[in-house]
Subunit: 379 residues, 2 copies
């Protein structure tokens, strides 16, 4: 079956490109001696994770416990780091079960309350857990200041079932960069701050086994930084329009994820300047970085961009290049992680031929829905 | 089970509020003699639609064929209007099947190409279909200009299996209003333009059976406009922070949909000014209207607003009111339709007691996934 025969809207991934992207980055990390533990939130697919594992990733960064559980239960890996602090009983009990089943689970901590919560919860279950300190290198979200890391770890020493293994960061501010030069500056400054964090640790007598960081925009600079042992990019599997056109992480031909939609109208009032497609805000994020025009562009007509997004439909600017009513078109979105996160399955293809349906089996709401199976259904 | 015992993140709906909202609007429409055909895209739940039907809605507006199919097949209604033009074989064949099964399907047309496509496709199947012309009253998306409607319908007369039944619009520009006065001005101007469209029709000898319009912000003004026979609001079932605080459609206590999330950190670098929750861009839209501060606010701490949203987590501003790490909180999002559209199920509660799981059974990707059941799964 050809992709253009599919009902729309549907999310497609070009498996040839995915395999190439995964291999190129694995080789890059290997050649600089870095452990590549991909951030799993981009794909939430154990099938894609297995492709990454097969080219050398023996660990994964997960945004939550549900993602970690799926990777372990499907046999993709036994080493998972959980990106965001765990502060609820549900998460804790599932982490305990993962440890019990022999997985290596590394959590991230950035505040004493979470440390206390984890320590108490694991003590009563008789478990120890490894942790990294999340360091804030300027994103201003989670994290401890680099200069405070040594003191913070020393405070955590009293929790003797929490075992310090390293420090990690996410240079999320790279996503505010307007060009590759600004990305490079973020990467360089972040590495300097992580060095500062290591100095702070040594001042208190701690030596990190893991010094990790990661984002797809900074990846090509991060690999050259001696301070890092681990890198955690996620988006590089698919890339997207912003990675290609703003950050310079890849070319537009590396973008592997697209949304197949149907052109449903060229409204008369527009005198042929706009067209409507049947894919809306669930698939196409209203997020513009680095002065990019629009929210996505078409594979079939690269001068056509998405300029407005409603819930169920979006508007294309066709003043520079035309489309036909009834035509099926593929949108390269500004942000592929967002699109992937909207759906339960994606369609894999090679050269436009449909290969199969890839279920996004690690989505947290799937896991939670199973968890709630005992509650009555109202229909 | 209490809602705070649920795993997070999860989307909740307060069924007492839903029932009240649905009843109040049904009574309002009835008292002005209007047909209320709710826009179904807000909820995509046949259970909620049944509540609307039971208080008097004998028809529904659907964003696509998948939604219409579910309403008909689950026995909620036999009268469906499809909001956006149908321009693909998949949609057309399913519309034909609905008609064959005895449903009244009304499509909307705003361009000749779609008329031609529908007419050809239905002729070969031996069907007629009723249509409304979509009129653009200033939103600048789909539609024909009011003054051109008569000429447009006369052009469509040559398609003798397309039966003209009326004109419809969506005053989407109301969503750009910054206060109730601006909403009222949009409503008033839209009604004037729809009167102009009716005059244009009469000039060509056509009389509309349906003159429809609808949006939740304009609803309370639209009911007073003599020109309308049908109203199509959708959001009023749940309302949201923008409806309450910007458009004046409801009070914050009418908001029925919330996201239950866990506070996972109060990062040290912020000196207690921010907190992190485990619900991100899938649940909370980055959309601010009318100068609203933030993307959502907490039920438990109304002065706490969501100020940043990443994919998996979001940032709360807690400088005015505190939260605790580990605490479960409910977010009233700026836009409830968006949140509802992100998930496969919602949890219904009354006064904080869980009543049951409500599957969102009319989501198009569920329907498409079933359609693709013959394609191999790659896992």
């Amino acid at each position: 079956m050809n992709i253009y025969e599919l009902p729309t809207p549907v999310v497609l991934v070009d498996l040839d490109r995915v395999e190439r992207n995964v291999r190129v980055v694995a080789n890059l990390a290997r050649s600089y001696g870095k452990c590549l533990w991909p951030m799993f939130k981009t794909t939430k697919s154990s099938f894609i994770a297995r492709l990454q594992r097969d080219v050398g990733s023996d660990g994964f960064l997960c945004s939550g416990v549900a993602e970690a559980e799926v990777l372990v239960s499907k046999g993709v890996t036994r080493t998972v780091m959980i990106a965001y602090p765990i502060a609820d009983e549900w998460g804790l009990s599932r982490v305990a079960r993962l440890i019990e089943n022999g997985a290596r689970v590394i959590v991230r901590i950035d505040n004493l309350r979470v440390a206390e919560f984890l320590s108490n919860g694991l003590r009563s279950r008789g478990f120890r857990i490894e942790y990294c300190v999340k360091v804030d290198v300027g994103y201003g979200r989670l994290g401890v200041k680099p200069e405070d890391v040594g003191l913070f770890v020393s405070k955590l020493s009293r929790f003797n079932n929490l075992e310090f293994v390293g420090i990690v960061t996410h240079q999320g501010q790279a996503y505010k960069a307007r060009n590759p030069q600004e990305v490079e500056a973020v990467a360089k400054r972040s590495a300097e701050l992580m060095e500062l964090a290591v100095k702070s640790l040594r001042r208190y007598g701690f030596e990190p086994e893991i010094v990790g960081a990661g984002s797809t925009p900074t990846l090509r600079f991060d690999v050259r930084e001696g301070i890092y042992t681990h890198l955690f990019p996620g988006n590089y599997v698919y890339y997207d329009r912003t990675q290609a056109l703003v950050y310079g992480s890849a070319s537009i031909d590396d973008c592997a994820l697209t949304i197949l939609a149907t052109v449903t109208s060229i409204p008369q009032h527009s005198s042929g300047r706009i067209a409507i497609i049947n894919a809306g805000s669930r698939y196409i994020e209203r997020d513009v970085r680095g002065g990019l025009r629009g929210y996505g562009q078409l594979v079939e007509h690269p001068k056509v961009v998405v300029t407005r997004v409603s819930q169920e439909i979006a508007v294309l600017d066709i003043s520079e290049e035309g489309v036909e009513v009834g035509e099926k078109v593929r949108i390269i979105p500004n942000h592929s992680c967002y699109t992937n996160n909207a759906v339960n399955f994606i369609v894999g293809h090679r050269g436009g031929k449909v290969v199969g349906i890839i279920p996004l089996d690690a989505k947290e709401d799937r896991v939670i829905e199973e968890e709630l199976i005992g509650i009555p259904r109202i229909t």
